[in-house]
Point group: C2
């Protein structure tokens, strides 16, 4: 059985296998290993927080990412340090990383300060990130990064040329050791606080887009495309 | 000169002192050590990504935080592992962490896939997080965590009682080794791409709040307070 087959079999399973470090020590009821849930959380975002160890100390950098099947691609522009640490070429040792994506869905306002919370969805991926060197895979990764930011955008932009592709620094991280964590619902106040005079409930939070600002040199004849107007 | 005086003198300086690890290897023109800028970025958020090292590997968890002067307080609810690792009591060794806060301000859509980018503001804090043990400081920290989520909320909720304060797990991280990174403005396409037929510009991104959802047991006589309606 080849690696490819193994990956395909693995990807067909509905859940990721929990490991010691993907099982939380608290709020276990919020943890999930459901593959579809993990994919949906990842696909809604485009900025992850990438953690790695440098000189024994932790470093966390915000970085663009994209997903293609069971692979994440992480952009190197903010992270030449992790890219250098991951090494070069197919035999590079790679870099142990923790990649985390978080969406805040609501502010949970309890009657007591102590029970204030957030509704959120997050995904934490552990693994070893390796530099992408194959030009075809780099193209795929670059498209995925662009399409995560705006779905459909890679088809409406000039594709990377050979020079740009060679200058595109991307790390690959397989989705193997993965968990999601989700909180939903209202506040969990203590029963004895029910009579307090404070407003309690949830304020929904979402990402919103403002009116597009055309570049200074955009020709007036070029209209805003539908996929951008739809945002 | 006591430690307190030293901190006060330090806090009066307009900038944080750059260190080897707060000077980026790329896009240095985007880096800043300006204290007011750092504070403003931190004060606009309430979720950080906290990185630490566990068994030699990086871990990044989304966590609530609040700022009081030159101190950050990090909530322990999602992080009993870092809290345990930081130790207990005033003599605890503490936990080396990297705390990162990121705001996305815009999608930068260039004509070429390669030049797509984001406008953003981020702060990265390196240091050693230590458990807060003093009850008064725990109260201050709990108020700061609540007020970061909604300014003014701590005054409109029941304060923590002795039992809750004792159960509040908070780490403190001093703002000493700190940097901000900011990208603003439009796309930076190559001049030879100026004639391409793709829409180019910036889509502003912001955080938006939906209509408040009252808790199921909220008395109808309790109105939505002004500070929540203002969101």
């Amino acid at each position: 059985m080849t690696d490819t087959t193994a990956t395909a079999t693995e990807a067909a399973r509905p859940s990721y296998e929990p490991t010691e470090r993907t099982v939380p020590t608290r709020s276990r009821e919020r943890a999930s290993y459901d593959r579809e849930l993990v994919h949906s959380i990842l696909d809604e975002g485009y900025v992850c927080h990438l953690g790695f160890v440098r000189d024994g100390a932790p470093v966390v950098l915000p970085t663009l990412y994209g997903r293609v099947g069971e692979r994440l691609y992480v952009h190197g522009s903010t992270g030449s340090r992790p890219l250098r640490a991951a090494g070069r070429g197919e035999d590079a040792p790679g870099l142990p990383v923790c990649l985390t994506v978080t969406h805040v869905d609501g502010l949970v306002l309890a009657r007591s300060a102590f029970h204030h919370s957030l509704n959120y969805r997050s995904v934490v991926v552990h693994g070893t990130a390796r530099p992408v060197t194959d030009p075809e895979e780099l193209r795929t990764a670059l498209d995925a990064l662009v399409d995560h930011v705006v779905p459909g955008r890679s088809a409406d932009s000039r594709p990377g040329n050979a020079k740009e592709i060679a200058a595109t620094a991307v790390l690959r991280l397989d989705l193997t050791e993965v968990s999601a964590k989700v909180r939903t619902g209202g506040p969990n106040d203590d029963p004895e606080d029910a009579g307090l005079p404070h407003w309690t409930g949830v304020i929904p939070v979402r990402r919103a887009y403002g009116a597009p600002v055309p570049a200074a040199d955009l020709a007036p004849s070029i209209p805003l495309p539908d996929y951008l107007a739809a945002l």
